[in-house]
């Protein structure tokens, strides 16, 4: 993984690999996904971003034939999901929390199992498995039973298992949840490379950083509804609001500081553990002056402040109900 930002533009010349049109799904009275429309293109990573319970996994399950579609339609590589699920299963790979591996089998046996079920001929299958084990660095534990794996090893095998048949469309459901930062960065690099080689990758994440760094295009979902979509740069531009960040010297001042900011007509959000207030500016840069004056008038000691461009975090907070995302 390099630190270069991924190409931040939706390239309309890239062919559409996944098309969801008005997808909806309810469980009883709960509407899990409501009228969701988006596209994912070959050679791009499309991130479905949202807090827990936003409907991301439900969406993935509908697209991968694991759940029936209540309303709307979806097609994968031009194949209608509802009417030809078996054909769709030939062109997709699935990994992450909605899929897993056989705990009682070794990595190699798991890959043999899936390779056989994909009807990959024996010789080709073994070559492919050897290649994947080496390429994704499973060698050290490839012949150990999966139930002995660490979270990172298991996730890595899970992703590799979804690649066994070289699918043109890959679904990764929260692929990096629970991974340590190092393993996560490595996995990002591998996902990026798959996309660069032409695979259409659809991943779900509740990590803003992951969506920001990895995705060419982002779909923000909350409570089953799409709130925004576009590239990370588009989303930030749409927000068009600079953010004033104020660090108060004492944490106990935070509620009072928030109140005095509110008194100026702005709204402040803060993280409960910190000493930092985030204030989206609606009235331009000079608004920050009146806010700082108000804080000063209240006798609140400001340790530091800065004016910055919005991050995806700000977009996310503005678009969703807020909870759960990091």
């Amino acid at each position: 993984m390099t630190d270069d930002a991924p190409a931040q533009s939706v390239d309309a010349s890239r062919p559409i690999a996944v098309a969801a049109r008005g997808l909806s799904k309810s469980f009883g009275d709960t509407e899990a996904v409501v009228d969701l429309t988006f596209e994912a293109r070959a050679g791009e990573v499309t991130g479905l971003l949202g807090p827990n319970g936003a409907g991301k996994t439900t969406t993935i399950k509908m697209l991968t034939t694991l759940l029936s579609i209540d309303a709307g339609a979806a097609s994968i590589a031009g194949i209608d999901v509802a009417s030809r699920p078996d054909a769709v299963r030939r062109v997709i790979g699935l990994a992450g929390q909605s899929a897993a591996v056989d705990e009682k089998l070794t990595a190699r046996e798991n890959l043999q199992l899936f390779g056989r079920l994909y009807k990959i001929p024996s010789g080709e299958r073994t070559t492919r498995i050897d290649y994947l084990i080496e390429r994704f660095e499973l060698t050290d534990f490839a012949d150990r039973v999966a139930e002995t794996y660490s979270g990172g090893q298991r996730r890595r095998l899970d992703v590799v298992a979804s690649l066994i048949a070289s699918p043109p469309v890959l679904f990764l459901d929260e692929p990096t949840t629970g991974l340590d930062p190092h393993t996560r960065t490595e996995l990002w690099g591998e996902i990026r490379e798959l996309a660069d080689n032409g695979t259409a990758v659809v991943l779900t994440t509740q990590y803003l950083e992951e969506a920001d760094r990895l995705s060419d295009s982002i779909v923000i979902i909350d409570e089953g509804v799409m709130k925004a979509s576009g590239t990370s740069a588009d989303l930030k531009r749409d927000l068009e609001r600079d953010v004033l960040e104020v660090h108060v010297a004492s944490r106990s001042d935070l509620p009072q500081a928030a109140a005095s900011v509110a008194g100026t007509g702005a709204s402040a959000s803060s993280d409960p553990e910190g000493t930092r207030l985030q204030i989206p500016l609606t009235g331009g840069a000079h608004q920050s002056l009146s806010i700082l004056r108000a804080l000063d008038a209240e006798g609140i000691e400001v340790a530091d402040f800065q004016l910055r461009k919005p991050t995806l975090d700000d977009v996310f907070l503005a678009m969703t109900s807020g909870g759960g995302a990091r």
Binding site: V10, A12, S13, R14, P15, I16, A17, A19, E39, R41, A42, T64, T65, L66, L67, S68, S75, A77, G78, I79, R84, D86, A87, R89, R90, V91, I92, L94, Q97, S98, A99, A100, V101, D102, E103, K104, L105, E109, L113, F114, R116, L117, Y118, K119, V145, A161, S162, P168, V169, A200
Partner: protein, 271 residues
Amino acid sequence: MTDAQTVSVAVPEPGLGQRFRWAIQDTVTMTWRDLLRTRRQPEMLSFAVIMGVFFLLLFYWVFGGAIAAGAGVDYIQYLVPGIFVITTLTGAQQTGTGLAADLGEGVTDRLRSMPMSQFAVLGGRTIADALRNIVGVLLVALVGYLLGFRFASIGGAIGAIALAVGVGYAFSWMNAAIAAQVKSAEMVGMLSMFWLFPLMLASTAFTPAEQMPGWLQGFAKWQPISVVSDAARNLSNGIPAGDTVLWSIIWIVVLLAVFVPMSVAIYRRSA
């Protein structure tokens, strides 16, 4: 945006013959996987296999004397073929609990998202359990031999074991249906009390129907475990088996005809 071209992968719809070949191939693969899993859990295997020997010794030593009187033959000759059937029946119960646990694991979702025969998930499991049942039955035959049991002929031995394994296989599918429906190993275990014990105890596997209360005799004579026990006993002892073999085969076919499509349908629907 929508005027962009679409990735289109030609995926031909497989013909009936192709689908059939794939289903067999997948079932073989899934059987391989289930046997591999069994090998990784030797305690599960030994429990299942030893169950039959446990019943044999229990009934031979504990109840043997009391029951033997009405059996008409030496009790060990009466008991062992019945235990064959009891062995495969308890093995069939494990199909349910094992499958329910399996369906709860994430790997099942992966299998569902793959272009494979959905029948194979259940088919592989039931075949692996049937193979395990054969081991269990052979072990019962071996311990029976040490206790003085003898087959009258090789043909009779093969026939008796085949019928016992066959009816166990049929009940495996009944349990697969239950497991696909309730998806909880605990529930499957509890529900099995309602069919396993009546079928087992109100049967002619351990004791002749004539020794049971009159109201129970009709059920005890005609229920599948009794019919197959009688057939296995007749074949083992070289007694003309008459209709018992035919009725055993009818029971096995009927149970399979009902429960194979039912469990596959339930498994598909619960996707």
